[in-house]
Structures are given as C-alpha cells and as structure tokens.
Amino acid sequence: MNAVFSLTRLRAMLAKEFIQMRRDRVTFAMMLGVPLMLLVLFGFAINTNPKHLPAALVTAHQGPYERAIVAALEATGYYHFTHVGISATEGDALLARGDVSFVVTIPADFDRRVDRGDHPTLLIEADATDPSASSGAVSTLGTVAQEALQHEEGTEAQAAAQKASQVEVVTHLRYNPEGVTQYNIVPGLLGVILQMTMVMMTSMALTRETERGTMENLLAMPASPLEIMLGKVLPFFAVGAVQLTVILVAAKVLFQVPFVGSLWLLLSGVLIFVMALVLLGYTISTLSRTQMQAMQLTFFFFLPSILLSGFMFPFQGMPLWAQDLGEALPLTHFLRLVRAVMLKGAGFTDVRPTLAALIAFVVIFAVLALTRFRRTLD
C-alpha cells in the first residue's frame, strides 16, 4: 500500500472531477465560450496599426498641388479625407470632437512658394491621444508629401497626380510586412486565453470543496496531497487541448495567420505552459479561503500578465523595471515562444531559454502548491 500515490485513488479523483466539470454547465460553457469570444473581439476589434483614419483638409483653394497631396496621402491607406476645403476653425472643431484624426492645412501661399522654389510648409495636426493609432500614419507623412511635390513641380498636373498616387513608401516591418495586427494579437491571445481560463478554474479547485463543506470529508479519506492535486489539475489539460484547437483553427481560418514553425514544438510549449498555469491556479487555491478570494488573486495575477507580458504593449518599449516584472510572468515567456514558433519558424535551439523558463515556473508552482496544501483543517 503506497501512502503517497495510488493509481486507483487518482482514477477516482479524476472520474469525480470530470463528472463535476460536466455537470457545471455554466462553467463548462464559459471554458469554451470565453476563448471564442475573446478571439473574435480582440482578433477583429484590436488594431494597433489602424488604416483609413478620417482626415480633414484645410485649404484656401484647390489647385493641382493640393489634389496631388491629397491623392498621395490617401494612397498610403492611412488617410481618408472626409472633409475637404474647410476653414481652420472648422478643422479645429472636427479634431477636438474626434470626428477626424488628422487635419492637413495647406497655407494660401503654398502654390506660389512651390512655383518660386521656396520651401513650402505643410501643417499636419494629428490627434495623438492614442499615439499608437496615429504613429503609423504620421511616419509616412514626410516622404509622401515630399515626393508628391517633387513629381508635381514643373510637370503637367494630371500626370503628376497619377504618379504621386504610385509613390512607394518603404517601411521595414519584418515578419509582418503588411503590418497586420492580428498576426501579433492572435498568437498572443492563445497565451492570454489559456492563462485566464486555466488559472481561474484551478484556483477554484480547493476553495469550492471548502465552501461546499466537502473538504472535510475528502481530507478524512485516504487521498494524498499529490493525488488530490493531480486529480484537480489534470482534467484541465483536456480543456486546454480543446481551447488550443479552437484558437489554432480560428487563427488559420478566420485570421489567416501564417504558421511557419513546428507544430510539435508549439504543442510542447503549450503543454509546459498549461502545466505552469494549472499549478499556479492550484497554488492560489491553497492560499485562498473562499472562491471570491481565489477570483481576486487570479485577477491580481491576470492584469500584470496582460499589461507587462508584451501582449498589449511592445515588451522592449517598457522601462527596465517593468521588463524585470514581466520576466517573472509565465505569459511573457510563452508569448515569446508562440510568436517565435508561429511567425518566425524558430527551432528548438531558438526557444530553449523560454522553454527552460517555463519549466522553472512548473517546478516552482508545484513545490509551492504541495507545501502550501493543508492536510488538516487547521
């Protein structure tokens, strides 16, 4: 008779947990519904490099130069001129109300200065309340306007306008040349969704038993801490597998995210990540007295994970202390792994450090959970 581990007892724990999971319809629906909802919301709605932003043109009269500039700007795809030939005050109002993201002002002496060969000025006011939204558009401005004018000067107006619209903007966006946000967001969502559901569900594992009064009975029976822990966390591997499938299929079908790396490498990464997550959830469960507390602790962990892991904001753009905090989160490492494997086709040697970090989390959380587990009701 082994006191620490018996397959019969683990089997009993697992059977019970699976039945309870199946009976709890709302939770079960949430485990499948949440990933889909998040995926659709984030995947379609979040766009950190938005195009077709509304713009207004303030100009005294509309000559060939003005038309050339408008055409060139619209050709970048970032600008969509909704108001043309309005006054400066109207432009200010539009910008203040948020009806347009940009106001382009062409001064009255613009044509004369261009013809004289002076340095013409062009004022572009951008609504920078969301810097990430406008930065892409602003970055194209200088070149576009310059080139539009160069082509226009001394040539026939119509031909110039046409040429201007063919202006090529050279940008360096490696791995995601089109700047499609989804390529970055969707693989990241895999990590975020797994983190949210896995940690939240397992954090309830023990507190639910305590709150329903079944813990007393469970502890009075000969189940070891290891068996209870495995019984509680293993069913979530099945849930994780379902979520992974849903997200990968959606990434392919809905968002056309390329998958250039090895599926097996990704699967191993997910497996280790999920292991770390369920053990983290279980650790939270041993720390909390009620399900409410478990929920709060989960969110205490969840928010920094979203903000500091590089999911929402570029990791390298954060101050060093924030990066250090981010390194202490499993999601940070998982995001590196999933983006490297899916988008860059990274191999095992490339992701070895991130895998090692994830394994370290598994060990730490497992030790924490087992030492924190109270074998008595004290």
């Binding site: 089997r11 009993a12 019970k16 009976r23 007393e216 009975n217 070891s224 009701l377 004290d378």
Partner: protein, 310 residues
C-alpha cells in the same frame, strides 16, 4: 484485556486565545457505542476531528485503534469511518458516483460489486443515478453512513448524525448503529438528543471544552446526586404560578414544565422536599418523588460548568 479502540489523553486545542478543547481524556472500549454529549459549541466536533486526524492537537497524546494519533494519521484514516455533521458528499454527483468515488479512494476491490451491493442494502439501487443533492435529509444521512462504512472501518466517528432527521429515520439509523456495533465496530457518536444518549452503552459529557461526566447513563445520573419531584396540577395558568413560587424557594435548582407537570430538581434533597411540600400543598396540587432523568442531569451539569467559566 485488549487495548481500547480510542484512548486519548489530555487533548488541548486552541484557536487564538480561545481554548476549544481543554484537557479531554476519553477511553472507548472495542465494540462499544459511546455517546459524546454536550451543548452546541462545547468542543465535540473539534475533539472528533482530532481523533480522525483532521486537526492537530496543541497538546495531548492518543492512540486510535492502537495507532498513534500523531505518527499514523494516514493509517488511521484507512481504518476509520467519519461522518461529518453537515452532508459532505458531492451534491452534484449521483448516488452511485459518490459511492464509486469513495470506493476508489479506499481502493476497495472489486469496486463495482461493492458499490452495487451497498446500493442494494441501502434500497437505493433504483435511484442510483439520482443526484445526491436531491435526496431528503434522511436519505442523505443513510447515504453518508453507507459511504463511510463501505470500506469496513473498525471505528466509526459520527458527528451529530441525526440532526434534522425525522423520528422514524432516527430510529432506523440507531438500529443500524447497533447492528454495526454487533459486528464488532466501535462507534463514537455525538448528539444532543437525550433519547439518543440513552441508546449508548456509555456516555461522555463535554461542556466548554472540558469533559465533566462519563460512564453509563445510570452512573452519570447517580453521580450528579440529584433529587427530583414531579408536581402535577390541572391548569396551565395555575402551574405557571406554582413554577414561579418554586423557582424562588430554597433547595430548588431547576423547574421545567412538561404540559401541566413540573420537573423540580435540586441537589439538596431535604430542602427540596420541604419547599415542594409547602408550595404544592399550599396551591392544592399533587406532588410525588420521581426518578431523575438524564436531561435533568445535563441541565444541571451545564449550569454548573457555566458557573465554573464565570
């Protein structure tokens, strides 16, 4: 002489500066049905939890079924069946699934056969797929008892098993307890029903964490040294006045109405008799000496131990 099934000495359990169990020593012989009595919050549940390894005592030693409480907690768990005060099986699992789970944890083989047999014996075979949460109080209690005896424990710890159960179910439950004791299983059962205490071979009375009486029912009643008189009249209103007079009279410790009969109990037999005679004859009601009941004894013990606390 064989070793007792329960032999715990000097158990102490504190929560903060509150001593919940204070120097409790209990011995229960093998095959005996031991009653564990006391008012709410007296430390019964805590003591039982210490015995089955769910709580660690702050002081005291003990042997349960010949195994050391501190060292052999896991071995003890396998030999003990513990039925909690509140129904603590899974309400979202069916009856059969609950039994199957318990059978798995105790590694009972052949599992399915034992579960089926238990369901037959319970009379629940036809409702095996019903959720445990849908059962009535009486059935929940029977299911819990069946679940905690399925692994054939040598000791049963029952914590207020009949709370909220109707009289018929209670009687059937006690028949079952006696049947199990007949098979050689030792039973420690906590309760605050007096009629249940009288069904036990021996009783232990605990109050404010202290064990203050133990023995057979007759021993405990005799040990309290109480004298009891019954005062009987015809009208409730009249008896109310008589009761008031009696409560103020010397030698009277308790006056308890039972319909139009009063139980009058006191420690000083002579003073009590003089008071009862005077008041009863003055009011023109009948009076006669009577046997002291277990309930009278416990009320007296509770009052006495509260005095100790103050």
């Amino acid at each position: 002489m064989t070793e007792p099934a329960i032999d715990v000495r000097g158990l102490v359990k504190r929560y903060g500066d509150k001593t919940v169990v204070d120097d409790v020593t209990i011995t229960v012989e093998k095959g005996e049905i031991a009653g564990f009595l006391g008012p709410n919050g007296s430390g019964k549940t805590t003591t039982i939890r210490i015995m089955c390894g769910l709580l660690k005592p702050d002081a005291g030693t003990g042997r349960v079924l010949g195994m050391d409480l501190a060292r052999d907690a896991l071995k003890i768990k396998r030999e003990v069946g513990y039925m909690t005060q509140r129904f603590s099986f899974y309400e979202d699992l069916s009856i059969a699934e609950n039994l199957d789970f318990v059978a798995g944890l105790y590694r009972i083989a052949p599992r399915r056969k034992v579960v089926d047999r238990t369901l037959e014996e319970l009379g629940l075979a036809s409702r095996r797929n019903q959720l445990a949460g849908r059962l009535s109080g009486g059935w929940k209690q029977r299911l819990a008892l069946a679940a905690c005896t399925m692994h054939q424990p040598r000791l049963l710890l029952l914590d207020e098993p009949t709370a909220g159960v109707d009289p018929k179910a209670r009687r059937e439950f006690w028949d079952e307890i006696h049947r199990l004791a007949g098979q050689g299983i030792t039973v420690l059962v906590s309760t605050h029903y007096m009629d249940e205490a009288e069904r036990c071979h021996r009783i232990n009375y605990i109050s404010y964490g202290k064990l203050i009486a133990k023995g057979t029912v007759a021993e405990v009643v005799a040990g309290a040294g109480l004298t009891t008189f019954l005062v009987n009249g015809d009208h409730g209103g009249q008896m109310l006045r008589v009761a008031q007079d009696l409560r103020a009279a010397p030698g009277v410790d308790q006056v308890a109405p039972f319909g139009t009969t009063l139980h009058v109990v006191g420690r000083d037999g002579a003073a009590l008799e003089a008071s009862v005679r005077k008041i009863a004859e003055g009011a023109g009601v009948r009076w006669a000496p009577a046997e002291t009941s277990l309930e009278d004894t416990f009320i007296q013990l509770m009052g006495a131990s509260r005095d100790n606390m103050a």
